[in-house]
Symmetry: C2
Subunit: 346 residues, 2 copies
């Protein structure tokens, strides 16, 4: 055949999304924001916007049932969607859950999955309001949509950071990626010798970060209490570097990160250094799935958060001309690049 064929792997996920959104027109007055942020924003009334986000999780691509317990998987699937709602500075109120299940799943397995889903619903105070359940000829498919609300003046988009705004991040980074490395290693050990028990206790923090991440809904409430409206916000699903670049590029700005300010937990740090002989900074910059919040605030809000136990200030926004930079521990200024995650590997 002489038909043109362009491989998806040549384009990448972001290239594909760009291609899709380029051809998308908005015609409804109720659509305030379409493709291009953590969630779509719909106008519902003058006091509240509705934000909607959706994620598709596929066995073999996003999770490996060899080491992911079904309860944890259910919990995580909800949490990562809630995280997208948080990234709009909104409060999630509802979710829908669609499942594609193969016949190798028993009712008891589905119950375990829903136990995790329900636990997350309780934990984040969201209602499970609908979904679709069907059989799958191949692996497990989980599609979740989360619906949240936020008042218009609190809305935090990706593209509204200003020059000199302070860049903040919640929690610590690199843990989920490190946990994944541990799980992959123990799986290989187990495959080679099924008598061996996995060594996960010593690594419980990082394994927990991978298997059961939390959305930072707590931070959204705290920011409201502190009367801080982030000037821009995104959640960290692909890695700090990738998300910082999103905020900078979409806001038409540059960004400066400081390596020594990047929060990395001690257990995470030690495991990366000792077990994997790797750079903890690289894990924080490029390891995904931490689901922490990355956001910018006005300098005038700095006093309100500077002593917050769970928010680190890690840099600031610059002009586009100044570019995307990282000041290393030794004071060298490096270009900030995103490895991110590419699912469309060839």
């Amino acid at each position: 055949m002489s038909e043109k064929r362009t491989e998806l792997s040549d384009l990448g996920e972001f290239g594909l999304i760009e291609q899709i959104s380029r051809n998308t027109k908005i015609s409804q007055a109720s659509t305030l924001k379409g493709i291009g942020d953590d969630a779509a924003v719909l106008k519902t009334n003058s006091d509240q916007h509705t934000v909607i986000s959706t994620d598709l999780l596929l066995e073999g691509t996003h999770f490996d049932l060899a080491y992911v317990p079904l309860q944890h998987l259910g919990y995580k699937a909800v949490a990562v969607n809630i995280s997208d709602i948080c990234a709009m500075n909104a409060i999630a109120e509802q979710i829908t859950v669609s499942l594609g299940l193969s016949n190798r799943f028993s009712l008891e397995a589905v119950d375990a999955l829903y136990e995790g889903i329900r636990l997350a619903c309780q934990s984040y105070n969201v209602d499970l309001v609908g979904g679709d359940t069907t059989s799958s000829r191949s692996g497990l498919v989980i599609s979740i949509t989360a619906i949240g609300r936020v008042s218009p003046e609190k809305m935090a988009y990706r593209n509204t950071a200003q020059n000199n705004d302070i860049l903040c991040v919640t929690g610590d980074l690199g843990g989920a990626y490190t946990g994944l490395q541990i799980l992959e290693r123990e799986k290989q050990v187990f495959l080679a010798n099924p008598e061996m028990q996995p060594q996960l206790e010593r690594n419980s923090y990082v394994v927990g970060r991978q298997l059961k991440p939390e959305a930072r809904a707590d931070i959204i409430h705290e920011l409201a209490d502190l009367e801080i409206v982030p000037t821009s916000m995104i959640d960290i699903s692909d890695g700090l570097a990738s998300e910082a670049l999103h905020l900078a590029r979409q806001s038409g700005l540059g960004v400066m990160l400081y390596e020594d300010k990047i929060p990395i937990d001690k257990e995470t740090y030690d495991i990366i250094i000792n077990d994997f002989k790797f750079s903890p900074t690289i894990a924080a910059l490029n390891g995904g799935e931490d689901y922490e919040l990355l956001f910018t605030i006005r300098q005038s809000d700095y006093e309100k958060i500077k002593n917050h136990r769970d928010i680190s200030t890690i840099g600031h926004m610059t002009t586009k001309k100044q570019g995307y930079k990282l000041t290393s521990r030794s004071g060298v200024i490096l270009d900030l690049k995103a490895q991110g995650w590419t699912h469309f590997a060839s």
Copy 2:
């Protein structure tokens, strides 16, 4: 292992949904209706409710790329979701589309799929506002969520029909099922002899009903113009019998259908009789995917629709004690049973 194992095929899709919804609690004031209707209903302001519906379509379960063109698949995936919004008497305004794509898909194939999605967006005047795109290790996965709006006094639930209400259906039934039989037959012919060209022209109506069904958004506008608010409504995805039983059971009523009133298109009728030696009534009752609307109206509204070219009155609601019945063409009263579609076949 001595762990209890219950097969999903023993439970069926409806059994599974019942099991899931039984354990689901609602805690948000904004959740007006959770699991159990065509869409969830959320309170957004006093003038408008938001309705949300989601569908998961999996290759091998819901479609066969051997005979489904990608444009049509994209169009249909949107239309079936819009249909769920219509079934609440609401107008769809936005959709999100998530895709799981394998590497065997080229960018050109994804473009073809989106061409269909975009055409449906134009046709139903909805905005594509978000989604998720990822790679799939197995088949194509499409997950769509549709968001619509309706004023509270126009809302049509499944469980609010009244005794003696008139049962109405739009369009004609059994066509999509018949189209599927044709496509399956031609696929077998093609597999046996790849030189043969498929004979689809003669069957273009039924093949079109299967490949490119339309949501009856036109009817929602017409009902508004006629000042009719259905007392209950559902869309026909599983077959007339299954959906009529849903309306009756969820409303705590019985139902009487009249075989001679069930609308069946002439082409559909002839193909079923001549090619498949089958009962057209059975195709209408149990063949799925027609995506017509089944609804009840007060007797006082009958005059407004009795001459409508595209709405048939096919029966009426009775008491629960009178049961679920079909009066055959010969006047015999039969029990109405749903075959529906069971994806969890063992």
